[in-house]
Symmetry: C2
Subunit: 211 residues, 2 copies
DNA sequence: ACATCTTTCATACGTTTGATTAAAACAGGT
DNA sequence: ACCTGTTTTAATCAAACGTATGAAAGATGT
């Protein structure tokens, strides 16, 4: 067997990049294969269809991110239980939000993927959005559950919406980081992932704990 | 002259609805004209192009919303100046965010438009996003300026990002309200615009004032 | 060296898209 | 009733799309 990875992952990397930049429907298979330097038919040969390629882009990235997120969240929950304390809302939100931004800076090519996630959250095409949500939902509910333990005096539906607000803040930020030119000149000060993470975690923690 | 409005605004209303539901690229002129019960060529006759139609959808709705927003914001600024006080961050954010949600409930067909706005913020197509931003930017900067007066002890770039977080929370919420089926069953409690407004304003105000 | 399986390639198919056109239908002023 | 300008209609265009195919090229095991 020849080195399959070459052509196959080159398609995947290019697809990730172009999907992030121009959206799923704004990226044709001809764009992808041309940019990747492979034949047009290679996508359907290796992945079956454009949809399946899109799905694989998400699968590859979400597996490690979700594993880290899950481990961090459950560790927080367990440690709180053993000490008979409530989990700290800040730590929960940190565990939920930080891996994404951290991942963005470390893994090469991940920045494009993160932008793609930000886009896909409000993707008109239900099929595509469901691919994302399938990966996202389990950890969302886990985070929500621990948050309810952290702030038991706040009604659950309020916490639910506040977590949604946090996700909105996060996804919008991810999008802005991938599109610096939304605002003119140097209006957006480009901070590193760590600073942004602190800013956003402080923001949503304050919002989450209010009242 | 015949009643132009009939065909012309029927196209506009239908376009707004379908663009919101399926996105700009997911909606063909054939979809719009079929749903509106007019001929395919009518769009190009009345609006010139699909792009121009999209632009008109935004123009129609943003003019009144922006007027209200602007009046509210400048009133807050003036009243604070006359009493030699700082504007209240909560009032500023309320003035910035509430009109959109309020508008959503009152004006018929506005709900679709609001969903469309939520989508277009992270639209891959730069041309389309710029149409939205052209309407949005002036009020954003006005809000930002008054916010700096309200919280002078917080660095401006921190306030800038926090306002972005608020916008993210807002736009994500607008999207969710238009797509109740993102989460299973009755997971999302459907609250009225007033309640949601209070929730989100409290959330972002707490985040804005923290430290 | 041969036979077999995998991968690449150029090319084509059938749809759908936004846009255009010329003719038909309609309206209002006189 | 007639002319004039506006609106609607059906038909057609070229371009772009995802996908399919069969032949060529390459790799692998013996």
């Amino acid at each position: 067997m020849k080195d399959v990875r070459d052509t196959k992952t080159r398609i995947l990397d290019t697809a990730e990049k172009l999907f992030a930049g121009n959206g799923f429907h704004g990226t044709s298979l001809r764009d992808i294969t041309k940019d990747a330097g492979v034949n047009l038919a290679a996508v359907n040969y290796h992945y079956g269809s454009k949809d399946a390629l899109f799905e694989e882009v998400f699968r590859r990235r979400f597996l490690p991110i979700n594993r880290i997120r899950r481990e961090k969240l459950e560790k927080i929950r367990e440690e709180a239980r053993q000490e008979n304390l409530r989990p700290s809302a800040r730590e929960v939100l940190q565990a939920f939000l930080a891996p994404v931004l951290h991942f963005r800076e470390t893994e090469p090519g991940a920045a494009a993927f993160i932008t793609l996630v930000g886009r896909t959250i409000s993707e008109p095409d239900d099929r595509l959005r469901e691919i994302l949500m399938g990966h996202f939902r389990p950890n969302f509910f886990l985070c929500f559950a621990i948050l309810c333990e952290a702030l038991p005096h706040i009604p659950k539906d309020v916490l639910f919406w506040r977590l949604q607000f946090s996700i909105g803040a996060m996804s919008h930020t991810l999008f802005l980081l991938g599109h610096a030119k939304v605002f003119p000149e140097g209006v957006i000060p480009d901070l590193d992932a760590g600073t942004i993470t602190d800013l956003i975690v402080s923001f949503v923690t304050a919002g989450m704990e209010t009242q």
